[in-house]
């Protein structure tokens, strides 16, 4: 008798999901799906609201990456207020936003690595769940736990200094920013107390990278072979090909590194990208139109960014980037677990960028806002921690939003996550009689490599349930497990 195994939702990802694994009569994997089970339409909700509310309103999508939504919305509204398409802001406006964004990347990546991923790496996928969490890390690797807490705090302080608040700030406004950085804020972030200084953060970012690389050396099979599959990759890159998390052109490469989207202006993203709806998931499936629905899917996020970029414009991160590229033979890494490596390189890059910006006098003086001729439509893209985030708005003559389309990072990674889950399921669950905690966690580890934020992806405003279910070929429930 065939079975359908359901893992719902995924532990230690942001938001909730459900994994169903369909087994045939011999216990072989027939099909694996990652489901998103709740939907409340945020895009419809914002229709009829005044456009200037968007940078604040859209942050309600998520408590984890509100800054990314804040900035993507502000970038779209820059176009609407005639302040250009990412390059028209004043130096102060752009640099303050960049500082905010690097603070966000820094704290979000730190959260993911130290608190969500490191327990799996330190204790192993099959370890007792009671130990395989941040408390377990704190007990056995206290320095790592302290570093994780303090790096999160540092990034949040950067956000507070630029956005006004750590959560749901108001710093970015259409056409610019609403504040300068004060001397006090700059000095606090540059060389505050024992933990609150940027050189300490750069040092810890380097330590975290060394930790990962040492782990990688000893666990090549886990990092390199875990859920490996070919994918295309998409991200913003700077016009000269540098990694740029705030602004750039859209580039995609295939699994061999061949360009399949040629550095296009993201204001016209809809010419190149479409979204497919599938009946079993509320999360859409984006794809490159030219390649088609079946093969046009792509991966976004830290791994994608390192696969699409030619170089990094900060010295320490560039050195790590070169090592990463050399390890992968100069071609894209198709190893989902390398996302952890890429994420750590981006933490280091962000710390270097924060230091550069804190030493830039433009942040403390100069015009804050650019004004221009109003338009009725604007697109804002940003490289959020989890990948490329699209905000697209149209307004009416009365300044009210008439259309909103958000493609969030996790939605972009929908198909890759399904591919990864299937790879792991086939490897660990085929023919097994008992579904163990370790087997289920292996599936979750694959999903966690993408750092998904499922509440963003469904634009959900509420909570989702947590349970595991197993069905037979007739879709009768034969096993159910609650995970908390």
């Amino acid at each position: 008798m065939g079975q359908k195994i359901t893992i719902e939702p995924v532990t230690r990802v942001e938001g909730h999901g459900k994994v169903t694994i369909h087994l045939d009569n011999e216990g072989k994997i027939e099909q694996t799906r990652l489901h998103i089970v709740e939907f409340r339409g945020f895009e419809r909700f914002v229709q009829g609201r005044p456009y200037w509310e968007m940078p604040v309103l859209v942050q309600r999508l998520c408590g984890i990456c509100p800054v990314s939504h804040h900035l993507a919305a502000a970038k779209a509204l820059d176009v609407i207020v005639g302040a250009g398409t990412g390059e028209g802001l004043t130096p102060t406006g752009e640099k303050m936003r960049r500082l905010m964004h690097y603070g966000q990347i820094f704290q979000s990546h730190a959260l993911h690595f130290f608190y969500l991923a490191s327990p799996d790496l330190l204790f192993g996928i099959d370890a007792d769940p009671a130990k395989r969490n941040i408390v377990g890390v704190a007990l056995e690797y206290k320095d790592l736990a302290v570093q994780g807490v303090m790096m999160r705090k540092y990034g949040q302080e950067v956000i507070k200094a630029t956005a006004g608040k750590k959560i749901h700030g108001t710093g970015a406004i259409p056409g610019g920013i609403n504040k300068h950085l004060t001397e006090e804020e700059r000095d606090y972030l540059l060389h505050g107390d024992e933990f609150m200084n940027i050189d300490k953060m750069i040092g810890w970012a380097q330590d975290a990278l060394e930790f990962f690389k040492e782990y990688h050396k000893k666990n090549v099979a886990i990092i390199d072979a875990f859920a490996e599959f070919p994918s295309s990759y998409l991200s913003l890159v700077r016009k000269d090909g540098a990694l740029d998390l705030y602004h750039g052109v859209l580039r995609a490469v295939d699994s061999e590194g061949k360009k399949i989207l040629h550095d296009v202006d993201y204001q016209e993203y809809y010419k190149y990208i479409d979204e497919e709806v599938r009946s079993w998931s509320y999360m859409k499936f984006p794809y490159l139109k030219e390649i088609g629905k079946q093969a046009g899917w792509y991966t976004v996020g830290p791994l994608a960014r390192l696969n699409t970029s030619n170089f990094i414009d900060t010295p320490l991160a560039q050195k790590e980037f070169e090592e990463f590229k050399k390890y992968n033979g100069g071609k894209p890494s198709n190893k989902p677990m390398h996302a952890h490596w890429a994420r750590l390189i981006e933490i280091l890059h962000s710390a270097e960028k924060i230091k550069q910006l804190l030493n830039d006098p433009d942040l403390m003086e100069g015009e804050l806002v650019t004004k221009g001729t109003r338009h009725l439509e604007g697109v804002g893209l940003i490289e959020a921690p989890r990948g490329t985030l699209f905000h697209h708005y149209k307004i009416g003559e009365n300044d009210m939003i008439t259309m909103a389309n958000l493609i969030v990072s996790t939605t972009n990674n929908n198909q890759p996550m399904n591919e990864a889950v299937n790879q792991v399921a086939v490897r660990t669950m085929t023919g097994k009689k008992e579904i163990t905690e370790g087997m289920m966690n292996a599936v979750e580890v694959a999903i966690r490599a993408y750092d998904p934020c499922l509440s963003c992806a469904t634009h959900a405003l509420g909570k989702m349930p947590l349970e595991f279910e197993v069905y037979d070929a007739g879709y009768h429930l034969i096993q159910k497990k609650i995970k908390d």
């Binding site: 408590g63 608190y115 009671a130 408390v135 749901h168 908390d484």
Partner: protein, 157 residues
């Protein structure tokens, strides 16, 4: 600052954009304004959308912490004030962490365990809009009076 007074943090969390989910945040804001007017410099207030891991470090700076949150559960008095014990029970996601877990992490990582309490304030409506409901406002006012009385008790000792 008077060193005899317990340095106290009122930490309100919730989403001010979802009606009564703002109750914890509004309580903290209310206490902050009141403590300034009463010249109580050992009383601090903090608000956030949700609790985060770095809050384990934040509470190391306090002797006493009151976590304030909105509640969907029935509460006969409109609010419920209970002592909080550390707990290593971890949520399925780090999207939001529980106050008992923050207390536990604070103890394990920073070896400090402040006296901690949980203040639940009963809410009723959670839709995506501003302004709390009338009944929730009554509950908030009762909870505010209660927290003020606790703080004043300590300031008179």
């Amino acid at each position: 600052m008077n060193p005899d007074k317990p340095k106290t943090l009122i930490y309100g969390y919730g989403n001010p954009g979802r009606q009564d989910d703002a109750l914890g945040v509004m309580l903290a804001d209310g206490i902050e304004n009141w403590s300034h007017s009463q010249h109580l410099p050992w009383v601090h207030a903090e608000t956030n959308y949700q609790l985060n891991l770095e809050d384990a470090e934040k509470i190391t700076h306090y002797n006493r912490v009151i976590f304030a949150d909105a509640s969907q559960e029935p509460l006969p008095d409109g609010f419920l004030f209970t002592p909080l014990k550390p707990s290593e029970a971890i949520d399925f996601s780090m999207h939001a962490v529980a106050p008992a877990f923050i207390l536990h992490l604070c103890h394990e990582v920073f070896h400090h365990t402040p006296e901690a309490y949980l203040l639940h304030i009963k809410g009723y409506e959670w839709e995506f809009m501003k302004n709390i409901t009338g009944t929730a406002t009554d509950n908030l006012n009762k909870a505010l009076d209660f927290v003020k009385s606790i703080i004043l008790q300590h300031s008179n000792t």
